[in-house]
Subunit: 232 residues, 2 copies
Amino acid sequence: MTTTDPWVDLLAGDRSLLDRTSTAERVADVLRQRIIEGALPPGTRLSEESAGRALAVSRNTLREAFRLLVHERLLVHEFHRGVFVRVLTADDVVDLYRIRRMLETSAVRRAGTADAERVAALDHAVSAGELAAEQERWRDVGTANMRFHQAVAGLACSPRVDETMRQLLAELRLAFHVMSRPREFHEPYLGLNRDLTELIVAGSTAEAERRLDEYFDAAETQLVDAYRQLPR
Amino acid sequence: MTTTDPWVDLLAGDRSLLDRTSTAERVADVLRQRIIEGALPPGTRLSEESAGRALAVSRNTLREAFRLLVHERLLVHEFHRGVFVRVLTADDVVDLYRIRRMLETSAVRRAGTADAERVAALDHAVSAGELAAEQERWRDVGTANMRFHQAVAGLACSPRVDETMRQLLAELRLAFHVMSRPREFHEPYLGLNRDLTELIVAGSTAEAERRLDEYFDAAETQLVDAYRQLPR
DNA sequence: CGGTACAGAGTTGTTGAACAATCCTGCAAG
DNA sequence: CTTGCAGGATTGTTCAACAACTCTGTACCG
């Protein structure tokens, strides 16, 4: 038997580039992206007929894609009625912040074991946010903020945490899309993100965790308040 | 407009009893249960033909169910090759313990806000485990242990944490099914579970969190060691 | 003997059509 | 204003078909 050569792992890592994905997954990717960027606002109905014709896929394939996104909680499926882009309730928003707080503060606590690359990801996200704010691209500030928190969760060095976090942040975008002002929900926290990054780089994880906890208090209150003043 | 009557919420809660579930979901439920209980061991190939004939559903419906379970990481999908019951790697087991540790310790820390019912769930699970151990039903001891940790996560009072935890524990079962001795992985922790419950009931969450963290150290080491000695 | 090439069989990927079950709309009747 | 009901539209599910791909065994070649 041949011992594993060094380049084997390398190529194994390139397997994902091989384009071995089903149509349903790619359809789900497209829809997910459209939902995340707000092109398909919460409440939108996606009829199999129209969506299938628009994307040029069969109803069966489309339904497989729908199943995936329903499982990700980006769509809701009402039996015999169709699928809709999810409309978050205020309770949903509270819950999203609750689990985020658990995952992110735990990740910060274990930040000591994270490699340099993951710590650098924090800085990249913060810098991108600062640049976007300078240029008053508030939408991009929001995106950078999400990337920052994805990087915070990434400190846990856990593929499952990363995946869960991706889903949660995608879900949280649904909340922002029903509100009009993209600026005031993200800009105030740019400075904090910078501070957090420096604390983590310096190894002051306990202090970073405390500040992060405070951030969640403030952000959750702000978003939930704004959310409750909205429709229904 | 009519104001909402008191019984409306009641009936709304019964909506789930109305059996409005698709065939695909029920198929997924069946397969998930079979995987969890070990009837479909890791590595098993599920061909669309055989599974569809066995469950008397069409290939399309079956594929929708497969998609769900792949998304839950209980099945893996290899393009043009089929779906297989997932075979966890040692890294997977480490990762599962990592995210469990994050969620469960965080949940314990916030146990103060949990209602009495959720605290009682801890006791029920522990008692069920103790009874099963007395009668040497080791398989049930394992199930009770899982229920206990589900209840621990439940202290966070978060539907999303509950759902995530359900998935993680289902996934972890895959690890136990490739090992033969159901006893020694769960029995040693019965006493600890009892202690943890009493600490939480008494409000000593800090001490409970510390003990839980130690449990994860021990359990992870034990399982990963046993796992690494196994095939491949 | 070890490795390559290739045909054949079996499985998956995707589509389109078909039909039953269900929901929605509008209108008529009470 | 509510109830009942026809009809049209949409979803739920199955089936059949075909393309694309994988797997297996065999023949071939060095």
